[in-house]
């Protein structure tokens, strides 16, 4: 069964006063209002959240949201795929409608993180690592440093190309009122910022963020009852790579990205040049290159040129992260993959305001761990 996305919302991302339940409810209510769908129609609820138990001591979010939003009776489930949780939520919400199990599914992603220190947040996220990694104090940022050095040395890529990713995504973020950062930076600022995981510096990393995002899905043949302008999910697939990052034969090849991308493109019957815009998981600047290569938009070792030549800029051939990306918009773990598709929804429907680009077809790639589990989603606009 073909699946439509008929509503979308995201909260302000950044340092927020509310707790995770407040953020989820805010996003969920805004999404129902955006779609104009009565709450009685919602049959399934998916809550994308990585670690509310660890961050806040609050579990059972799916049931909490059903009660807080007055959706009792609906089936509710929490989804965790580490930092790829939102994308996994899209995949599960799609499955719930595509299978015929639900005629109206609400997906809400959210995370509350900023009440913890950066060291504590880093440890919560690093708890996804294998014991032989965790005991050495390996963190997700340290994997990014190890991989970025290998990429730069092996492919003779300029260090500035990574800074260009941060500059681009910060510029896009200034045009997204919901982004955490509303500030342009230049290459020099990025290159002079403090070292976090050599050769990567502060501006190569996304911030710690609170926020929520939501989508409403239904069968395409029911969508027209609600709206004459919606998105169709043309491809969606997930895949895994090794748990132990150093066991990958090629540290710069993300096999989970490759596999999920190939499956999603095959399902959609699209070529790479059918994609007008992409939201990629730029938790670290280097990940934009690795995803562009893994998804087939560039040959291995060459995606850095897309940053330096402006291909991925808002006015380039393939705008990447018009939302500001995780880098500038922020990265509330469970919300991020949902918010990627919210950006595609806004762009394709022509509701993206000052950052609007011409787009009918979009791709979102949400990466959990350091490429450990990945979901790629393809959507296109439908005007009835």
């Amino acid at each position: 069964m073909d699946v439509a996305i008929i509503g979308a919302s995201m909260t302000q991302f950044g340092q927020r006063n509310g707790w995770v339940r407040d953020l989820l409810t805010e996003a969920g209510e805004a999404c129902l209002a955006d779609a104009g769908v009565p709450r009685a129609d919602v049959e399934h609820i998916y809550v994308a959240n990585m670690a509310s138990g660890e961050f806040e001591g609050q579990t059972g979010l799916m049931n909490a949201l059903a009660h807080d939003m007055g959706l009792l009776g609906a089936y509710a489930e929490r989804v965790d795929n580490t930092s790829g949780t939102g994308g996994a939520g899209v995949f599960e919400a799609w499955q719930s409608v595509a299978s015929g199990a639900s005629d109206c599914t609400l997906l809400v992603g959210g995370e509350k993180m900023t009440h913890r220190t950066t060291a504590e947040s880093t440890d919560v996220i690093a708890s996804l690592t294998h014991p032989v990694e965790y005991k050495h104090g390996a963190t997700l940022p340290s994997f990014a440093g190890l991989t970025a050095r290998h990429y730069l040395e092996r492919f003779d890529a300029p260090r500035e190309s990574l800074a260009e990713v941060a500059v681009k995504n910060h510029a896009n973020g200034t045009l997204n009122p919901n982004a955490q950062f509303q500030r342009e930076i230049d290459v020099e600022t990025a290159l002079d910022s403090p070292v976090i995981a050599d050769p990567l510096r502060l501006y190569d990393f996304c911030p710690v963020t609170d926020g929520g995002a939501a989508l409403l899905l239904c069968p395409v043949d029911r969508a027209e009852e609600y709206t004459d302008d919606f998105l169709r999910v043309t491809g969606v697939a997930g895949a895994t790579d090794t748990h132990v990052v150093h066991e990958r034969e090629d540290p710069t090849a993300m096999k989970g990205v490759v596999e999920s991308g190939e499956q999603a493109f095959r399902m959609a019957g699209w070529d790479r040049d059918d994609v007008d815009i992409a939201e990629l998981h730029d938790m670290f600047t280097i990940l934009e290159f690795l995803q562009l290569e893994g998804l087939g938009f560039a040959d291995q070792g060459t995606a850095w040129r897309m940053a330096t030549e402006g291909t991925t800029a808002r006015d380039g051939d393939l705008p990447v992260n018009t939302s500001g990306g995780l880098k500038s918009k922020g990265h509330p773990l469970g919300a991020s993959g949902v918010a990627q598709v919210v950006e595609l929804y806004r762009q394709i429907r022509g509701e993206a305001g000052a950052r609007q680009v011409e787009a009918d077809r979009g791709l979102a790639c949400n990466v959990g761990g350091f490429g450990n589990c990945v979901v790629t989603t393809l959507v296109e606009g439908v005007r009835a």
Binding site: E54, E133, Y134, K135, S142, G145, L146, V244, E247
Partner: protein
């Protein structure tokens, strides 16, 4: 004390070991101790934003060992910040790599000793 890579009947090596060989799906039947060998630094980083109970800065390296023509890699801390890609290093045992009680993981759930890598001349 040992730094054990695990081998399946087809000769594939992994560190750490797994339930089955990721390359061919067979059970892993032997171990090879890497502790007395030297390896080569594939890549490294010095992390300054470390979690609770972890030294700061924390220099980490991915090191490749050659075992009779088959390569196997291991991640570990370095004994010095003065490391470069291509350096030859040897494993040095450390009783406690980070403070088990300071982080989020249950201390009893895993080992906390292991090997850091020291450059050799």
């Amino acid at each position: 004390m040992s730094l054990d890579a695990h081998r399946c009947p087809d000769g594939h090596l992994t560190y750490p070991g797994h339930g089955v060989c990721p390359a061919c799906g067979q059970g892993q039947t032997e171990t090879v101790d890497l502790a007395d060998r030297t390896g080569e630094v594939v890549t490294w980083t010095t992390s300054t934003a470390t979690p609770p109970g972890v030294r700061e800065p924390n220099t980490l390296a991915i090191v490749e060992f050659d075992v009779d023509g088959t390569s196997v890699r291991a991640l570990g801390g370095a004994t010095t910040e003065d490391v470069e890609t291509g350096d030859r290093v040897r494993p040095v045992h450390v009783e406690q790599l980070r403070e088990p009680d300071a982080g989020i993981r249950e201390p009893a759930s895993q080992a906390w000793d292991g090997y850091r890598f020291e450059p050799v001349e």
